[in-house]
């Protein structure tokens, strides 16, 4: 039972990172300024690196009966556990930046909590990535604050982006019906509800400094479903594109 619960947790974390890493990489060559092009490309690389580390933990601990690569690229869409937030196309830079801000704070909070995890591989990984994630949140905070105070149009676009995706971002914290209790009881992690609270505490001060208003969270419908394998229409084409080269010859030696 615990192994199944761990697989569920690691899969959703890794899938979020893989898919958002792919979305971030779509900014390569298209960023609004060169530094942002490089930033999104670098964060894409970091995210895919984290996903790779998580898939490898599952392979090494024999939680999945296949290699990390096969698991990452050859699953059916319904077996992916990523949240709806990461699936959406990049749209404009306002949307991408706000998603990056909301997701990376959630990711930083999650890894921070895993520093005390009873599951040792997660403990080690969280120590490894915490320094890197600081750069992601530093980058996100700096831009959200600059653009929140960057004049009327800029403010409007950031506030609109926040209003549009905050519910989807809350969907990151969809608790698992089957595994939440055991993961908390076994001290693997503190649970989605707790992480959600910590996440709000983490984003709120930055939004205040940016003069942006956090919508009333109690009145929102969180974008749940991704963790149960129910996805938006955007995931299937992304998976097809992402695995296109790999699937040409799955046995090829890279």
């Amino acid at each position: 039972m615990l192994n199944k619960a761990l697989t569920d947790l690691l899969t959703k974390m890794a899938d979020d990172e893989l898919i958002l890493g792919h979305r971030n990489s779509e900014w390569t060559g298209l960023g609004p300024v060169m530094e942002e092009d490089i930033a999104f490309s670098s964060m894409a690389q970091d995210k895919i690196g984290h996903a790779w580390a998580l898939y490898n933990i599952m392979e090494e601990k024999q939680l999945i009966g296949q290699s990390a690569d096969m698991f990452a690229f050859c699953r059916a869409e319904k077996d992916f556990k990523c949240s709806h937030l990461v699936e959406l196309p990049n749209a404009g830079y306002d949307f991408s930046l706000m998603r990056h801000f909301l997701f990376d704070h959630a990711e930083a909070i999650r890894y921070e909590s895993l520093q005390d995890s009873s599951f040792e591989p997660l403990q080690h990984l969280s120590k490894k990535v915490k320094g890197e994630l600081k750069y992601h949140t530093l980058h996100a905070n700096a831009w959200v604050m600059q653009l929140g105070k960057g004049g009327e149009e800029s403010y409007d676009r950031m506030q609109t982006a926040l209003n549009e995706i905050i519910g989807l971002a809350a969907g990151i914290f969809e608790p698992s019906k089957d595994y939440e209790d055991i993961l908390i009881a076994e001290k693997v992690y503190p649970g989605e509800k707790e992480l959600y609270t910590r996440w709000l505490e983490s984003i709120y001060p930055v939004l205040v400094k940016s003069s942006l208003n956090l919508p009333d969270m109690a009145g929102l419908t969180p974008g749940y479903g991704g963790r149960q394998g129910k996805h938006t229409a955007y995931l299937a084409p992304l998976l097809k594109e992402m695995g296109e080269v790999f699937n040409l010859d799955v046995d090829a030696n890279w």
């Binding site: 930033a39 690389q45 990984l125 320094g131 890197e132």
Partner: protein
Amino acid sequence: MVSKITIEDVYKSLEQVMDPEIPVLNVLELGMITSVTMTDNGAEVHMIPTFAACPAVTYIQRNIREKLEADLHISVTVIVDKHIAWESNRISPEAKEKLSAFGIAPPRKVLNGVSEELFVAVPCPHCGSTDTYLRAPFGSTLCRAIHYCKSCGQIFEHFKPLD
């Protein structure tokens, strides 16, 4: 033959294995080697990558193995150590000077975790001025940030502090 090779020989040979992205520093100076042990038929080298997603890890692993095997004629296993996390304080003071001479501002010593202050007034490796500002926390490789020097008007790279 094998018995004559010592740990010191291994370390001496490791001094010749340079980082592919910063060719003036070897893997020891960067603090990437965590331990070396001699085994019955060779040596086992444990190493850690600087950043989790560093694309050069397998390349460095191979470089270490090939260099040691060529120098010492022993069989070498290079293992990526998952129990130790790399931090920028592992870079030796001499290596920081070499970085600066190479044109990359070295990371300052991290005392209480990485904070914004470590990015303020980073000395320009070209002219030494501290009238500089952080232009972007990401650069040409995962471990570098981009700064601008107002005194000499040049962009320069900064090896990021990491804890």
